[in-house]
Amino acid sequence: MSDSAFSFLGRTLRRRSFLRVAGATVASSALVLAGCDSNDDTETPAPTTASLTFSNDNFGLLNYVYLLEQLEAAFYQKVVSSFPSDFTAADRAAFTDLRDHEVIHRETLKYALGSNAYDANAGTNGMVFDFSSFALTSRTGVYTAARTLEDVGVAAYNGVAKLLQVVTDGSHLTYLKLLVKLASVEARHAAFVRDQLQASSFADTDIVTAAGDLAGLDTVKTPVEVTALIAKYVPVTIVATSLPTT
């Protein structure tokens, strides 16, 4: 993995700043970052032990969604900063829109999470994602990558709603209502990039169940399933097993 992929840990989360993040997140119960052993007094913690653990509450779930939006925003930003040569003007305009939507989603969730965001103390050095597994030098490659990320996003939103734990202040409903506003826009994105890649594939049978009791339903995935799918893009080990499962 490239050096830049680890800047989140190597540069941003030097031991001292790591402790600040950990302290803040423990206090807020948002999430736990683990990875430094007791002898870790260097500026480069061993990356293989780095992990991002989402907590067993609604802040953990929101941080999980926030990570997905960060991933999508970073992907579109990367494409927009260097369009493939066979991208048309319409492609460029659409991807600029997609980038802007995902950045707005990311920033909205970051604002909603406030000090509970897992990277609240990371300043401008946020997570640096690794898109080297995508072929981003052609229109087909870019749309294929976008289709993968958008379909995963839709499935993730569909899976996260019922996991929001009922809390007495009613904030779970506030979160639910916010997340569903983003969810359908992700589905619009997914339909668009699918159609651009393959005409009329907006709701093909690989994502919308064709037959049986669940016919007509979109894909749904649990956080554990989603984080396994996006692990290759994320420079730390994501631990989603602590999140609510029912």
Binding site: A94, D97, D100, H101, V103, I104, H105, E107, T108, K110, Y111, A112, V154, Y157, N158, G159, A161, K162, L163, L164, V166, T168, D169, G170, S171, L173, T174, L176, K177, L178, V180, K181, L182, A183, S184, V185, E186, A187, R188, H189, A190, A191, F192, D195, A199, S200, F202, A203, V208, G212, D213, L214, A215, G216, L217, D218, T219, V220
Partner: protein, 290 residues
Amino acid sequence: MNLFQIITELEKVDPEIADRLTHRRSALSALGSFGKKAALAAAPIAIGSAFNKAVGQNTLTAVNDVLNYALLLERLEYAFYDQALRAPALAANLTSGSAARGAIETIRTHELAHVNLLTAALGSAAAAAPTFDFGTTAFSNYASFLTFAQAFEDTGVRAYKGQAGNIPRTLNPTVGGTQVNLLTVALQIHSVEARHAAHIRYMRRGAAAGAQTTIMPWIVGAEANMAPAAVYGAGVPAANFPAENNLVQAGITLTTGIGATYTEADVSAAFDEPLDNTTVTNIARSVAKF
């Protein structure tokens, strides 16, 4: 059949249903936005107890109310596409084997599946199926048909979104032979409707479809693109069901409030807005008799 008729029917067997629905709605309204966080902090016990009471009153009957409302919308959509696929004036554009016909058939198949699933979930509580009359305009030409389709799909997305908070997360009925989570199923339908909406909107770009060449798969501002303006307008109350050109999310105006400056077009398009059932039903009745 509409929601008020459903409530009237329910009142015959449950005289307190209207009160319970009213209380439940006001409690949910009070929790409608991040902007009210301060108020919640100031009066956690009062709001909290109102909310608990509301949850306690969210009986299976009320959930069936939501499901029958969804069933009505799905039946309407299925009937709309089914009639379109048989409409003489559309035959030249929906030719056998064409991409356009394929897409509309796919969508019709999904709407029928949604009808079947909701009917199965409701069991004996499923409302009787009405017949739908879309008048003379809807199927008079291809552009008109797609304009109606966009209106129904975008309204459908808003309708499901408007009910998300009314479906308890813990209801897991068996549909056919499969146990499902009702909230999850509702959102799985919701995202399929959004995929439909995106595709229909893009179909309108075609020359034969009216050459709406600037229309996007997502909703920019409250631009109706010749569909009824109410589809993209505010619901009741507007504070809980803002118009699609809403720029405030999580209690902050996103165009200027979160560090960078974003355009109104991008901010509005990045979020779809919920709509209340009364407004949705009024929209449906403005374009179809049932």
